[in-house]
Symmetry: C2
Subunit: 550 residues, 2 copies
């Protein structure tokens, strides 16, 4: 007969408290963490507010949202989230570094369309004339044309006589969009719909029971195809990058490491020719970064942004030979721009593309080459972005770790692997977690089903990341709002921190602090820069804590 | 510069294989497990079949199921599951013990209604006359009446003049059910709908995005309220228990430990009086068990069923004083029926009822009392059946383990707790996992999101259990089919094993073997009985393996 041994109930309660502490001892905000008196007070305020809003804001019915709950599907719940005081408070939180975002999907689609409309060189075409019947199924294809190919002004996409594939200037296409299809507003709605997974689709496409991970990836991939036609054009690219930095800073981010897809060899230049090579992309990136920092400095906000670096990325369907030459390209760029190239990754839907083992030998050669040349381009690999257990996408985790990855992009299935969890904790491999991305890509149904608490309770370093915020709905604000310098207008990371906070009773303000600090600690910044970044963040954190308390 | 060190690619692949093996070394079917040549062959056949059916049965569209996938929502996918060869094969698998099921929810609702119609004493009433408008919202209330209260034959539930609350004999109510509402068939549909969460509700209630765990629990609780009015009547209870044993054996189960709710002090006797005490319940259970075993023996199938025991359960809303007297009742029953009382539990929705800590002091006293009396009624507690992290329902896990629970009912949130995972593995605490229950109660959206692989990869002993199969849809077979002695007619555990198999590439036949064996190993059977049960199961397992190979 096995039986618990306790002297009395007080003894039981003492053992219980000890067990709970022991179970939480691996957490980055473990019971031994240093907490200032102000932080303790602010944490209590946040916890009390969470509890009271669970019973007020979340306990009432809201239009179009039958049974709301904290941590519910982001696209459906975001208008309720906006009503909470927690949201308002977290808006001011300094978020640290943004370590996982794909540049082509970081800027609000409405803003991108606005940029497109300013460029006479940008044209659009479709595979059929647009009608009420074809509208929802047709995707716009954008590209810049050289001046001599600018088209005659008489053509319109919605004319039944439109010859499929004929280029029309974007502005013209918008101005002449059939009024029966909404006119210019209808055009905007159509283009933005093709570039985003928006809330109304939230009901029909994203959140429908039968939609699988692969089905939503199809829609997701098509949004990239549409928007890159606009973005990868030098006059727009500069403005796009600037806006990415600007909105990141507004979101409380002080440093970014952004993934750029270098698979296309060229982008379009101002002359409409597709001939601008990678090194010019980086020159523009560098110049824009410097311009942005100078502008911030002029506003007396230099401390809000340390800088930005690039994770060189290619796609997981290329051949091994192509990977070899891609790695050489990456090395060449690193040699010219050592301060910009932060790491290397291979991206794309893991469930359907090639596994890392396919590329492993080439990737090992890549590291050898770096050693010979005395340079360091660490792997920062996507792995385990899957529901599978033992599938190729899941098994990518073993390869990422064996290849020496500095961090893991997503690592959604990592929690299934006891040994790998231990290795990540011991080797200090940070997991780049993108909560809302997994929900929209149907890996989880809500924050409550998310494995994040497992990672946190096991003491793995985690950073919250936005992944592809432009595709996932950038709060749907209009152009007008967008001009206003309002911290609520691009609250991507803000929302993530909020969702993480409401999905766990263990998580409080100190856990959010560790998430933000870990993002800076696990960046590729050099030691001195890193210390400076952390010191600046700590100063802002103290101010933030004081603002809650007062 | 950190960098992986491998002599060559062969070395890399060798290290990779070793890491994968190491990561899986905790599993019950770890790479060191004993596997016979026949088992290896059968495992390969099963894996090949899973792969080929993923690309055939699951890759085509099926009526009413837009994007099917293996491991999809059970209620929607079950007609596709039935078409697979894997299903046909697993039908013959000996499943071991059924360790987690609530007796009141174990027998097909159509069968229960059929039993009710045979009993003149059973009556039904509603809170309003039934009309096309009120039908879907009204619940039937059943109870046995003493002969002197049998009602006049002129009353019918669907008559607008029906006086709310008037008892009508069940048979009469069925016969006179308004033909505009479907007549007798409409009556059956209404009653069965009130006793089950059925597939059509699967679309609207169970699987709708906004349905939360608490919302579906409301429906779930109401199904119990309706069916207990029929079941807790001696002439039906006997037949009900017999059917539970029979269908368990048909499902490949050779031993059961069933939870019975002893919160009501009495059930209804044949005379329509609510005066049959707990000890008579157990006498009936015992007699029925012996009768069933004798019948099996007569059919030469004695080895298919070892027996059944009861986990005494009460509800998590009673007061501490009531718990004290409940524990005394449990002790009295254990003293009279030592072979029947296997353990003790408190049940009900953990997210809304009282936490274990509320009862902990009383539960410790209960164990002390047992020690004094020289008896052993181990706790087999529900805990962690929740999406929460650090919520009361989640924290129940600490109490269950500290109180010395023999197994954990559900333990859905256990995977969030590194220390508790370790304790369960070291103390050999088995987790009673009910895969489809969590999906229907909205803890997971599909088998692919289920934490089961985390438990298995961490080496925790797990048994697959049916929980409340009657409420979750018993394959919807008609009375006619139900009479046929067909192994497919109550394939609850069968389906569970199948779903577990298709949700992980790591899991194969050997993992299923360990799940089945663990269910017997972690039963409360005495050593000798346990050895006998395992030996009988092993013999059947060998036959099963041979049947796959040949």
């Amino acid at each position: 007969m096995s039986s618990p041994k306790f002297a009395d109930f007080a003894h039981y309660k003492q053992e219980r408290a000890a067990l709970i502490n022991h179970d939480r001892s691996l957490r980055r905000d473990n019971p031994e963490s240093k907490v200032s008196p102000s932080e303790a007070k602010a944490d209590a305020i946040i916890r009390q507010l969470r509890l009271s809003e669970n019973n007020s804001v979340w306990a009432t019915e809201h239009e179009g949202v039958p049974h709301p709950f904290p941590g519910m599907e982001f696209l459906t719940g975001r208008n309720i989230i906006l009503k909470t005081k927690l949201f308002e408070i977290l808006a001011k939180m300094p978020k640290g570094a943004l370590l996982h975002a794909h540049l082509d999907a970081t800027v609000n689609a409405e803003f991108v369309l606005k940029l497109a409309l300013e460029q006479p060189a940008l044209h659009v075409r479709t595979a059929e004339p647009i009608s009420a019947v074809t509208l929802s199924g047709l995707l716009p294809e954008f590209r810049a044309l050289p001046k001599e190919l600018f088209t005659n002004s008489e053509i319109t996409l919605t004319d039944p006589s439109y010859i499929p594939g004929t280029w029309v200037s974007v502005k013209k296409a918008r101005d002449t969009f059939d009024s029966a299809l909404g006119g210019p507003d209808g055009f905007d709605k159509w283009v933005i719909g093709a570039m985003t997974i928006n809330p109304s689709e939230g009901q029909s496409i994203t959140y429908q029971t039968h939609n699988t991970v692969n089905k939503i990836w199809e829609k997701f991939t098509s949004t990239f195809t549409v928007s890159t036609g606009i973005i990868r054009f030098v006059p727009i690219w500069e403005k796009y990058i600037y806006e990415f930095f600007r909105s990141s800073v507004e979101d409380g981010v002080s440093y970014v490491e952004v993934r750029i897809n270098f698979h296309p060899k060229y982008m379009f230049g101002e002359d409409g020719q597709e001939n601008v090579p990678h090194r010019v992309w980086l020159q523009i990136f560098d110049a824009t970064l410097n311009r942005f920092k100078a502008d911030l400095k002029q506003q007396g906000r230099a401390d809000e942004f340390i800088g930005a670096r690039i994770i060189y990325s290619t796609l997981r369907y290329i051949s091994v030979e192509d990977l070899d030459s891609t790695c050489e390209d990456c090395i060449t760029l690193k040699q010219e721009f050592p301060h910009l190239i932060a790491g290397f990754d291979l991206v794309g839907p893991e469930n359907v593309l090639k596994p890392l083992i396919y590329y492993a030998e080439s990737l090992l050669r890549f590291r050898e080459r770096q050693k010979e040349l005395g340079i360091d381009i660490p792997f920062i690999l996507h792995a385990g972005e899957t529901l599978g257990d033992g599938t190729e996408a899941d098994v990518n985790l073993y390869d990422a770790i064996l290849l020496g990855t500095l961090r893991i992009g997503h690592g959604f299935s990592l929690v299934k692997h006891p040994k790998l969890m231990e290795m990540c904790r011991e080797r200090n491999i940070l997991i780049e977690v993108c909560p809302i991305s997994y929900e929209i890509l149907r890996l989880t149904s809500s924050m409550l089903m998310h494995p994040l608490p497992i990672l946190m309770n096991n003491g793995l370093p985690v950073a919250l990341c936005s992944d592809d915020p432009a595709m996932f709905g950038n709060m749907g604000l209009s152009f007008d709002f967008y001009q206003v310098n309002d911290p609520l207008h691009s609250p991507i990371l803000l929302t993530y921190f909020l969702q993480v906070l409401v999905a766990s009773e263990v998580t409080g303000l100190i856990a959010l602090r560790e998430l933000a600090r870990d993002s800076l600690l696990h960046s590729t910044l050099e030691d001195t820069e890193k210390q400076r970044a952390i010191a600046a963040w700590e100063k802002r954190w103290e101010d933030f804590v004081e603002s809650i308390v007062s």
